[in-house]
């Protein structure tokens, strides 16, 4: 469980996050949704300590991350797997070496064991043939999948994904969503996923937080999202004409 308490964050006087209070539960896929520029990535990076909040705290299972020293944070960071919006694969390493990297750094696994683990993770993201290629030699969607494999390689307790399925085709997208959902249940970890994709929201959103202009505007389960009376959330969900029509026809039929 991760508790975010009263987080404020601004850049050069421009306020990005305002009094964020939210709890991300263990064993559940927690989603953060919101428009582009609403502060989702900043919230995620603040939670993992890449940005310092102006005030407020982030608490990992009772451990207050925000006022820890570098050495103490390290212990928590070893339990974190993170997928960056841009992938952030190491250019100088092959796909396989990228996935093995956290293992080589922090476990006592032999090289063979690391390779096995990398094989296993790459298989889970449906990538069996790219082991020896460099990030520059694979497609955008493949990079994303390698990045997910790297994030789960060291069996994290906390998994953060910044738009795991942007830039993927619908089929792979669903595959990745399901993978994240399954891993979360299977390993009983705390997962936080940023997404704009309403498909994902409806598929895997156990606990959804809607960020609007730097504030949590709405929170709830995927089943509640259709019945919300938050105007901002409705505008977000029913942004396209198609969705608007769908909503009308659904309500017409009494849903």
């Amino acid at each position: 469980m991760i508790e975010v308490k009263n987080i404020y964050k601004s850049f050069n006087g421009k306020s990005v996050l305002k009094d964020i209070n939210v709890t991300f539960e263990k064993g559940k896929t927690n989603l953060i949704i919101g428009e582009s520029g609403s502060g989702k990535t900043v919230l995620l990076k603040t939670m993992v300590g890449l940005f310092h909040p102006d005030s407020g705290s982030v608490i990992y299972e009772g451990r207050n991350f925000s006022n820890m020293k570098f050495e103490e944070r390290k212990e928590i960071r070893k339990e974190i797997g993170m997928l960056f919006q841009g992938g952030a694969l190491f250019d100088s390493l092959t796909v396989e070496e990228n996935v093995m990297f956290p293992l080589g750094m922090f476990t006592n696994m032999t090289l063979a064991e690391q390779k096995d683990r990398a094989d296993f993770c790459l298989e889970r993201v449906n990538l069996q043939t790219a082991h020896k290629l460099f990030p520059a030699e694979i497609s955008g969607g493949m990079k994303k999948r390698v990045a997910i494999a790297r994030a789960i390689a060291a069996s994290p307790k906390y998994l953060f994904c910044d738009e795991p399925n942007s830039g993927l085709d619908p089929k792979t997208s669903i595959l990745i969503d399901n993978l994240i959902y399954e891993l979360t249940e299977e390993l009983n970890i705390t997962t936080v996923v940023i997404t704009h994709d309403m498909n994902s929201v409806m598929e895997i959103g156990d606990n959804i937080s809607f960020l609007y202009k730097g504030e949590i505007n709405w929170q709830g389960h995927r089943e509640e999202i259709m019945r919300t009376d938050s105007v901002e959330l409705n505008n977000f969900v029913y942004a396209s004409e198609f969705m608007k029509k769908l909503k009308q026809s659904l309500s017409h039929h009494g849903y």
Binding site: R77, K78, M82, A88, D91, F106
Partner: protein
């Protein structure tokens, strides 16, 4: 932003660079990689520059000494002193600042703007130490060899260039090289080299590490890395020469 800000931030960065590493074996591998990248990778340019500049220095010395009162071996003495005292340690280091410095800044800068450094930090790795320490140690270790090689090649270039143009005979040149040879001059050159190696790698890494933005800014950082490491080298050349030779 001002010099004080940069010096302060550079200092803070260096403190983290020299903090205790996570895992020695990883650093050893990185060190070997950097020796290959920074050291072996620079051999070609050091070779070419040294041979040609050695030849030119000798021909110029001979040109300056066209007087019946000065013995011809003085050409060897003068060439040797310019090469050992200044050309090999300082000029070659400046050239390396151009080659190695831009390489380091663009590599680290790209890692910064594509969040690769964030990814390291998230894993609990001290990214400053992991990325920068092996480069500094490798350069401080390998550059003295490069500079000694440069000295030999420059003298060889002087010999070839000097005799080919008839400016000096090989006997006189070699006699001149050995005449009143002071080993301390080589020590002085190598001390400078160590400082310069440290400056090139750390100043360039600094510019790379604090890059913000995108590809354009990486290019700027890489230029700044070369400009500032060259300026700091020149400054330290002056200070060290004052301290060591007076």
């Amino acid at each position: 932003m001002n010099w004080f800000f940069h010096i302060g931030r550079y200092y803070i960065m260096m403190v983290r660079v020299f903090s205790k590493p996570e895992k020695w074996s990883i650093y050893r591998n990185q060190f070997v990689k950097e020796i290959d990248n920074l050291g072996i990778g620079s051999l070609g340019i050091v070779l070419i520059i040294s041979v040609f500049m050695g030849a030119v220095i000798t021909i110029q010395s001979a040109f300056g000494f066209e007087s019946p009162w000065i013995p011809l071996y003085a050409v060897g003495v003068a060439s040797r002193d310019s090469i050992i005292l200044e050309f090999s340690p300082t000029i070659v280091s400046l050239i390396l600042a151009g080659k190695v410095g831009s390489n380091i800044a663009s590599e680290i800068g790209t890692m910064k703007v594509t969040e690769q450094i964030d990814a390291l930090e998230i894993m609990g790795i001290n990214s400053k130490a992991y990325l920068i320490l092996p480069k500094i140690v490798a350069a401080v270790f390998i550059n003295p060899f490069l500079i000694v090689i440069s000295m030999f090649l420059s003298l060889l270039g002087g010999l070839i260039g000097g005799t080919m143009t008839g400016a000096v005979t090989s006997y006189q040149f070699i006699y001149g090289i050995q005449y009143d040879f002071r080993p301390y001059n080589v020590t002085y050159a190598l001390i400078k080299t160590l400082f310069f190696a440290f400056i090139i790698t750390s100043v360039s890494a600094y510019h790379g590490y604090y890059t913000q933005g995108g590809a354009l800014e990486v290019g700027k950082s890489s230029t700044n890395a070369v400009v500032y490491s060259s300026i700091v080298i020149l400054l330290f050349n002056f200070i060290l020469t004052q301290i060591l030779l007076s």
